[in-house]
């Protein structure tokens, strides 16, 4: 590390310490914090109340297994449904917008406004859109779907137009020289050329939306978050913890499935096919258990 780098890191470190101290202000507030947490954990959080996996008393459960009428199942299923619909709507809307935003497919006079529109949709997190749409549509899943779709368009659109801008120039030039129109160049060349990335982004977005589906429920936009918020307001923290554990496990499974699917559509070496240990264990331990071909080669060297 040269002197300039050393001073840069030292300056960054000192700046972080200063800002942290400035933001916290009174460190005395921390005294007793740990004890409070221990008491809260012992008396309210632990053990988790697994009643969330039992059938609700109303409406009467007609399913074969009680769990299908439980808060955890219904809430999680609703979150996944919201995420699925929002991702599908977001993809369909984002695709033409990303063609307009890609500088190699559209003139700058079109690309720049399209990018501004996408940036605008992306600049507000899904939860803020959710607050807005809960005001418009009322509490429920519709607000959640619309809010998540908005955010998805902004986020997915950016990923998509960057993928399209990264495609090889030769097919585009050949198409332009032949006299293909813009729609043909986009539909027949740019989209198929970037298809692997588009599919990968789509799966990633679904996974992301399932995770965020939990958050938007907190402001009344449907899904499992709505139950979380209800338990928090009622002080039923043990049920909240049980629900959080369920969410964690479901998100883990969806992450795994999504990564496995994405690894099949990505270029070689882009995303490695995951193993269970790579999800549960720290990276160092996981890579020791499952050396990748690249690691193995390095070891041989």
């Amino acid at each position: 590390m040269n002197r300039r780098m050393f001073f840069f890191f030292l300056f960054s470190f000192l700046l972080t310490v200063y800002l942290f101290n400035d933001l916290v202000g009174d460190w005395g507030r921390l005294s007793g914090g740990w004890d409070n947490l221990v008491v809260f954990f012992d008396e309210s959080l632990w053990p988790p109340n697994w009643a969330v996996l039992e059938a609700q008393s109303y409406p009467v459960c007609e399913a074969r297994f009680d769990i299908f009428c439980s808060v955890a199942w219904l809430g999680m299923l609703e979150t996944i449904k919201i995420a699925f619909v929002a991702t599908a709507i977001g993809f369909v809307v984002a695709l033409p917008l990303s063609v307009l935003a890609a500088s190699n497919l559209s003139p700058l006079a079109v690309a720049i406004p399209a990018r501004v529109l996408l940036a605008g949709m992306r600049s507000l997190p899904a939860i803020i859109w959710a607050v807005l749409f809960v005001i418009i549509f009322g509490v429920g899943t519709l607000a959640g779907i619309v809010a998540m779709s908005f955010y998805t368009v902004g986020y997915l659109g950016k990923l998509q137009f960057e993928s399209m801008e990264g495609i090889k120039n030769a097919p585009l030039e050949s198409g332009k020289a032949m006299g293909m129109n813009r729609a043909e160049i986009a539909w027949l060349i740019a989209i198929p050329e970037s298809a692997n990335h588009l599919l990968s982004h789509l799966l990633f977005m679904f996974e992301y939306n399932v995770r965020h589906g939990t958050v938007i429920g907190l402001v009344g936009a449907g899904g499992v978050g709505l139950y979380l918020d209800t338990y928090r307001k009622m002080g039923q923290y043990d049920k909240m913890v049980a629900l959080l554990i369920v969410i964690f496990l479901v998100v883990l499974v969806i992450d795994f499935v999504s990564m496995a699917l994405r690894s099949t559509v990505n270029e070689e070496g882009d995303v490695e096919r995951p193993t269970w240990s790579s999800i549960f264990l720290p990276a160092a331990i996981s890579s020791a258990l499952h050396p990748t071909p690249m690691n193995a080669t390095n070891e041989e060297e």
Binding site: K168, A170, P171, L172, E173, S174, G175, K176, A177, M178, G179, M180, N181, A183, E184, W187, L188, I189, P192, E193, A195, N196
Partner: protein
């Protein structure tokens, strides 16, 4: 007299600096022109300028061809869509012969599909029709790029080293098919070629680029 399909008047080409200057040349129906010269001299830039992808620095290029489908271009990297099948790539050539207002989702009319199948058959790639292009060998991909241009039936075909990676038999197949198309359509082929002997064998005009000038060497 043969129909003139392109005319370059006092054209200079290049990017930041001039690569070739004072080009005054006509291209007529039936011409098979080989462009020769060392690497980096401006051969590809000449093709890209005629294709309308690069503006000439000075002068004017007149093309007596339709803006849609009148000009075919096989770049050095072939310009195929690797994720699409061979047939879908060849169909792109035929598609530019249809109206620009034809919705992109609509399949090609039957008569155009017949041309697509014929082009694939002439180039010996009909058995690969449903294979994605990315899995084909370099030589097979060159034949796909040629079939796409044959199905397009352009008035001028610009081909940048499209005979590279082909063995002698395939060079014959490709050149025969291209020449058949040129004769049938009264069109012209301008090809950049590194192998001088091959160029002299297949072309009836040779343009050599040397010292920033384009010199017509052979006209027969």
């Amino acid at each position: 007299m043969d129909e003139v399909i392109a005319h370059l008047h006092d054209v200079s080409i290049g990017y930041d600096e001039v690569l070739i200057k004072d080009i005054n040349i006509e291209i007529s129906a039936g011409d098979v022109i080989a462009v020769l010269g060392p690497s980096g001299i401006g051969k590809t830039t000449l093709l890209r300028t005629i294709a309308g992808l690069v503006r000439p620095l000075t002068g004017e290029i007149e093309l007596a061809v339709d803006s849609r489908g009148g000009l075919g271009y096989i770049p050095q990297r072939l310009g195929l869509v690797g994720n699409l099948t061979v047939q879908a790539n060849v169909e792109m050539g035929a598609r530019v012969r249809t109206s620009t207002w034809r919705p992109v989702f609509f399949p090609l009319p039957q008569e155009f599909m017949k041309d697509v199948k014929e082009a694939m058959s002439d180039l010996g790639i009909d058995h690969l029709a449903q294979q994605p292009v990315r899995i084909l060998s370099g030589g097979q991909q060159r034949r796909v790029a040629t079939a796409k241009s044959v199905a397009q039936r352009p008035k001028i075909l610009l081909a940048d080293e499209f005979l590279g990676e082909l063995d002698d038999d395939n060079v014959d197949v490709v050149m025969q098919t291209v020449k058949k198309t040129i004769a049938a359509q009264h069109s012209a082929l301008i090809m950049v070629e590194h192998h001088e002997e091959l160029a002299k064998e297949v072309a009836n005009r040779i343009w050599r680029i040397s010292d920033h000038r384009l010199i017509e060497e052979l006209e027969r």
